[in-house]
C-alpha cells in the first residue's frame, strides 16, 4: 500500500484571474506530482491540492513568492489514512 507520509493538502484562495493562471501553470508542472482535488478555475472557488513531501517546500515558496493565500487543510496525509485504517479495523472487530 502506497504511503503518503509528509504529503500535505493545501487549500489555496485566489484573488483574481492572474492568480488562477499561476495555479494553472503550477498544475502543468508534472515533475511536482501534484494531485489537484479541486482544480483552479475561477477566483471565487478554492483550490485544494495534495502535495508530495518532496514538493511541499517548493510549492509553498512559489505561492508565497506570488502572494497567493493558502492554508493547510491536511497537515500529514498519512496520519489521516492511518486513523481511517484503524477505525475500519475496529469496526470489523466489532462486527465479528
Amino acid at each position: 500500500l502506497e504511503t503518503f507520509v509528509g504529503h500535505q493538502v493545501l487549500r489555496i484562495k485566489t484573488k483574481n484571474e492572474e492568480e488562477v493562471k499561476q495555479l494553472q501553470l503550477l498544475e502543468s508542472l508534472d515533475h511536482l506530482e501534484l494531485d489537484f482535488w479541486i482544480n483552479p478555475s475561477a477566483p471565487a472557488l478554492p483550490v485544494d491540492v495534495r502535495i508530495p513531501a518532496a514538493s511541499v517546500q517548493s510549492v509553498k515558496a512559489f505561492l508565497e513568492s506570488q502572494g497567493i493565500e493558502y492554508s493547510i487543510l491536511i497537515e500529514d496525509l498519512q496520519d489521516v489514512l492511518d486513523k481511517e485504517k484503524e477505525e475500519m479495523a475496529e469496526s470489523a472487530q466489532r462486527q465479528r
Partner: protein, 305 residues
C-alpha cells in the same frame, strides 16, 4: 449479517455481502448484475421494485470516483433506508408503488479495490492505455457528452484523462447500455464527494439547459431539505457555473438522452477533510443526502413526463 456497520468504511467484498443481505431480507429488492469491470468484477445494481413491468425508473449511482469513499458508504445507508422505509414511510411507499429505483453503489469497483489495496488516492478506472505507462481513465470524463472537450485531459497520466473514446470504459458503457435498453428512466442521480454542491447540466458547455428554471428550483428545494437536518449548506447550479467546465460527464449524457431530472451531488466535507471524510461523518452525510434525494424523487414521481 444484519450487524453491518453503516457508520464504517468497508471493502468491496463486505459491500457485496451486504447487497446480498438486503436482497434476501426484502422481497422487493433484487441484486442484478449489469456488466463487469475492466478487471472482471461484477457491476451490481440493487433494483427496488414493487411490481409492474418496465415502470418509470430512477437511477442512482455512487463511487464512480473510487477514492470518494463516503459516496459508496452513503449509498449503502440509503439502500437500507429505502428498503426499511417501504410500507412505513408514506413518501417512500408511494414512490415505489409508482416507480422502480436502481442503485449502483460501487460504479468503479476496480478503482475501489485499488484504493484499499494499493493507493488510497486512486480516482480513475484501472484500464490499460495502449502506448502509455499510465493506467486508468476518469470515468466521469468518458461519457458521450461533449467528449474530449474542455475540462478533460488528453494525457493518460492525468487524473482527468478522458480516455481513448467515449464509452471506452466498460464501467461507463455498461451503465449506458443498461439505461438505453431499459428506456424508461426519468431521473439520473449521481453521488460524488466533496465540496457540498448540487449540480445539474451542463458541464461540457456553459449554457443553461432547456429545463433550467425547473432544475434550479428543484435543486434549491433539495438543498434546503439537506440543510434542514444539520445545517449543511449546498450550493446549487450548473456544473459549469458552480465548479468548472468539465466535458464527458454522466449527467450531461443522461440529460441529452432525454432524462430531464439529472443531478450530481457533491457530498459534505465539513470544510476540513476533502474526500477523506472520517467514518463518524458517514451516517450524517447519508442522512442529509437522503433528504435531498427524496425531495427530487418526490418531484419526479409527481411530475412524470
Amino acid at each position: 449479517s444484519s450487524s453491518f456497520d453503516f457508520g464504517a468504511y468497508h471493502t468491496l467484498d463486505d459491500i457485496n455481502k451486504e447487497l446480498d443481505h438486503l436482497a434476501s431480507e426484502y422481497s422487493f429488492v433484487e441484486k442484478i448484475q449489469i456488466g463487469q469491470s475492466y478487471e472482471e468484477r461484477p457491476l451490481y445494481v440493487l433494483k427496488f421494485s414493487t411490481g409492474g413491468s418496465n415502470r418509470p425508473a430512477i437511477w442512482l449511482d455512487a463511487g464512480i470516483h473510487s477514492r470518494e469513499w463516503v459516496t459508496q458508504a452513503s449509498a449503502l445507508w440509503i439502500a437500507n433506508k429505502i428498503a426499511s422505509d417501504y410500507g412505513t414511510d408514506a413518501s417512500v411507499t408511494s414512490l415505489l408503488d409508482k416507480m422502480d429505483l436502481f442503485l449502483l453503489p460501487v460504479a468503479n469497483p476496480d478503482g475501489f479495490v485499488y484504493t484499499h489495496t494499493s493507493n488510497r488516492m486512486w480516482r480513475k478506472t484501472r484500464s490499460k492505455i495502449p502506448g502509455s505507462v499510465c493506467v486508468g481513465v476518469d470515468p466521469n470524463r468518458n461519457w458521450d457528452a461533449g467528449f474530449g472537450g474542455p475540462g478533460a485531459s488528453d494525457k493518460p497520466c492525468s487524473d482527468s484523462y478522458h480516455g481513448p473514446s467515449a464509452n471506452s470504459e466498460v464501467e461507463v458503457k455498461s451503465v449506458v447500455d443498461f439505461i438505453k435498453s431499459h428506456g424508461n428512466f426519468k431521473a439520473f442521480l449521481t453521488l460524488h464527494s466533496y465540496s457540498q454542491l448540487l449540480m445539474y447540466p451542463y458541464g461540457y458547455k456553459c449554457t443553461r439547459p432547456d429545463d433550467y428554471a425547473e432544475l434550479e428550483s428543484l435543486g434549491r428545494a433539495a438543498a434546503s431539505s439537506i440543510r434542514s437536518l444539520y445545517g449543511t449548506s449546498f450550493q446549487v447550479g450548473t456544473i459549469c457555473n458552480t465548479i468548472y467546465q468539465a466535458s464527458g460527464g454522466s449527467i450531461d449524457w443522461s440529460y441529452d438522452n432525454g432524462i430531464k431530472y439529472s443531478f450530481a451531488f457533491e457530498l459534505r466535507d465539513t470544510g476540513r477533510y476533502g474526500f477523506l471524510l472520517p467514518a463518524t461523518q458517514i451516517v450524517p452525510a447519508a442522512q442529509e443526502t437522503w433528504l435531498g434525494l427524496k425531495k427530487i424523487m418526490e418531484h419526479v414521481r409527481n411530475k412524470l413526463y
